[in-house]
């Protein structure tokens, strides 16, 4: 029997196990929406902006490990989703975006709402397809999912002209895909693996530096085994949080620009860096020429371009984290004995010394303004038993969330690392909530960032996605303000937000629930109330506006030279220097 392109599209989604599509309609995709409307297998979540749809697909993907799917129209629909594609590309998020296109006969004619979707998305997708013939549609969709989810994952765009969605073809779904130019390497080179295992046995000051790759390859169990067996401490990147249990004694927390003191010191003084699925981003390496000066580097990554892109590597292993870690463990199981612990005792003592010398700190006065770290800490403590999924926006609040929200398991952490996209947090949380309706999903947001995709509150209310948003409301683009205080002599050029909407009323206006924490003593009660609500909630928490995020390695600085607190001249200046939301101004001013 022949099916229309739109029907083929849906059949393909079903074969790929897709239950949810984040979408916004338009002229050239109406046939597809009309067909979706008449079936029940695939749920459509109507977003209010295509960027929201894109980030929802990302959140869905990060929480489930499967490809997220979004569907947008041609022209402006496509340009709106670009930010999400770029975000997914930087963070290697598996996602398939379907875009509508003007009919094939009109392509290139500057037709109404025409855009060069392939050209626009080329630099921000892993691959993209224009389907010119309905007979190619099924095989193309199969390839799109295959490319998005294998090797180093990433976003793939499938551009479907209007006439293709309406034309008919015989439906057959291929069982397998073979692309001669695309064969990701999963098995690591045996000889290199052996070399690496030997180096691991010999090292006196080894450190595991693990990133998003461990999460993509579901290798947490193997990582845990390796770390425990060899007693090697673990540094996580921002994208790797959750790959290793945050409360584990071997966890040193996050490393990098806002990483913990012990994580960065251990990296700097290590004699063997074992990088697993991490890409030596400049927020981690700091000044490249002085990065890990004493270390040999082992680098396991599925993407050969990640290796030796930024730093030199002594033992490169191209392969999948899980497969390679298993091989490490197999070799090491036979060789590890009590000696390693003995050999590394001075190293471990040193690390603990660092840990005790400069733990993460902040000072919360009993009646003083609310400190953002306190909010994250209490949120963590109050919700950890419910194993929540946590998303963040971008800025200081993101870094405090990374520092204080200790994740026990992978796929619980949704954040935009590579592109640093403000406005990511809320829709990403909604995407995760759509995948797991019964789970607790939190979004730790900034007052600046949340306004970049606030419109999705309507989606959350209508589609019953009861995400709990906690806004750390400091009245500023706080991260920008921090840099201005530290590097631009305190000139707050366009970082002060001045008027911010009343988020409680705003939530109310959307039909969600709005709550405000008026003083630190109310924090627990309000957070508990929010968690007990079955609707989407905004918890507005006015926080001390001048709190800075430490440790901090200034851009281009060296990893062992961290700023640990405000320089003295800054401390003096801050007290009482500004305002938050109008009604809470007084609390802050009297701080």
């Amino acid at each position: 029997m022949k099916l229309t392109g739109a029907e083929i599209f849906i059949e393909c989604l079903k074969r790929e196990g897709v239950k949810t599509v984040f979408a916004l309609p338009g002229g050239v995709v109406l046939k597809i929406f009309d067909t979706l409307y008449q079936q029940k297998d695939v749920e459509v979540i109507l977003t209010r902006h295509e960027q929201g749809a894109g980030h929802m697909a990302e959140g869905y993907a990060k929480a489930t490990g499967k490809a997220g799917v979004c569907l947008v129209t041609s022209g402006p629909g496509m340009t709106n989703v670009i930010t999400a594609l770029a975000d997914a590309y930087m963070d290697s998020v598996p996602m398939v975006c379907f875009s509508g296109q003007v009919p094939t006969s009109l392509i290139g004619n500057d037709a109404f709402q025409e855009a060069d979707n392939i050209g626009l998305s080329r630099p921000c997708t892993k691959y993209n397809f224009l389907v010119k013939d309905v007979n190619d549609l099924a095989a193309t969709i199969k390839e799109a999912f295959y490319i998005a989810t294998t090797g180093r994952p990433g976003p793939v765009l499938v551009d479907i002209p209007k006439d293709v969605s309406m034309a008919k073809a015989e439906f057959t779904y291929p069982n397998s895909v073979s692309i001669r130019g695309y064969n990701p390497t999963y098995e690591g080179n045996k000889w290199q693996i052996k070399q690496a295992a030997e180096a691991i046995m010999k090292a006196k000051k080894p450190i595991l530096y693990v990133g998003g790759g461990v999460i993509f390859s579901s290798a947490s169990q193997e990582l845990l085994e390796l770390a425990e067996m060899t007693q090697i401490p673990v540094d996580m990147t921002l994208m790797g949080l959750g790959a290793f249990p945050g409360e584990h004694p071997l966890s040193l927390g996050m490393l990098g620009m806002h990483g913990t003191y012990q994580a960065n010191m251990a990296m700097h003084y290590s004699d063997l860096v074992i990088a697993i699925g991490a890409r030596f981003d400049d927020r981690v390496t700091g000044k490249v020429s002085e990065f890990c000066p004493y270390a040999k580097v082992i680098h396991v990554d599925i993407d050969p371009t990640s290796i030796r892109k930024n730093i030199n590597v002594d033992i490169p292993i191209v392969g999948d984290c899980k497969t390679v870690l298993r091989e490490f463990n197999q070799i090491l199981r036979a060789t590890v004995n009590g000696e390693q612990k003995e050999l590394r005792k001075p190293w471990w003592d040193q690390i603990q010394e660092w840990q005790q010398a400069h733990p993460l700190t902040y000072h919360q006065e009993k009646d003083g303004p609310i400190k953002p770290q306190q909010v994250v800490k209490r949120l963590y403590e109050l919700t950890r038993d419910r194993d929540p999924i946590v998303s963040t926006d971008v800025g200081q609040h993101q870094m405090w969330a990374a520092q204080y929200f200790k994740l026990a398991k992978p796929n619980r952490w949704l954040t935009s690392g590579g592109l640093g996209t403000m406005g990511f947090g809320f829709p990403a949380a909604m995407g995760a909530q759509a995948a797991f309706r019964d789970r607790l999903v939190l979004c730790i947001a900034g007052d600046g960032s949340i306004q970049m995709n606030m419109q999705e509150m309507a989606t959350a209310v209508v589609s019953k996605l009861p995400v709990k948003i906690i806004i750390l409301n400091n009245g500023f683009h706080g991260m920008v303000r921090q840099w201005q205080d530290l590097f631009y002599e305190g000139r707050y050029a366009s970082s002060y937000l001045d008027t911010t909407p009343d988020f409680v009323k705003l939530a109310d206006a959307y039909g969600a629930v709005g709550l405000r924490v008026k003083k630190v003593g109310d924090l627990d009660a309000v957070l508990k109330e929010a968690m007990a609500t079955d609707k989407p909630v905004i918890v507005d928490v006015p926080t001390y506006p001048y709190e800075n995020c430490y440790p901090m390695i200034p851009a281009g600085g060296c990893n062992h030279e961290m700023l640990l607190e405000d320089p003295p001249e800054l401390k003096k200046k801050q007290v009482g220097a500004g305002k938050v939301t109008p009604e809470d101004k007084d609390t802050v001013l009297t701080a």
Binding site: G181, D303, P304, T305, P316, I317
Partner: protein
Amino acid sequence: MEHIISVTVENKFGVLSRVAGLFSGRGFNIESLSVAPTLDPSMSQMTIVTSGDERIIEQIVKQLNKLIDVIKVVDLNETEFVSRETAIIKVHTKDADRAEALRIVDIFRANVIDSTPSTYTIEVSGDPKKIEAIINLLQPLGIKDLVRTGRVAVAREPARPVAVQTKKVARD
């Protein structure tokens, strides 16, 4: 250092822009690029002349390999190769110069492929040095037009095995 990279790609639309986009997006340099179908019409052969230090060339080769439409990448500098470029040069030739022009054509084993009372159109093939040399000699006569193909290159049949980098074996 200059490298000649030979890239076998899928012969379909959009592939050239993916390769060109890779170079422009990452700030790599393309000195010349030529593309044509291979014996197997489903594939095309690109010859890219680029330059950069070892680290950059390594990234270029890896990034090219990463492109899904790229089937094979060979950095010809890792082996012995032969390369050729063709130029077509239109020169003004007044009466007195016509003999001189033909002499130069002869020396360089070039060909006159078109001729009018006041011009010769000359085709010459060889390595870039040779092309530069003939251009320099013809310049005084007055070059009206000049087009060059950019280089094409192929590995010499090896006395020893060629270091071919296929997609399965990453350079590690």
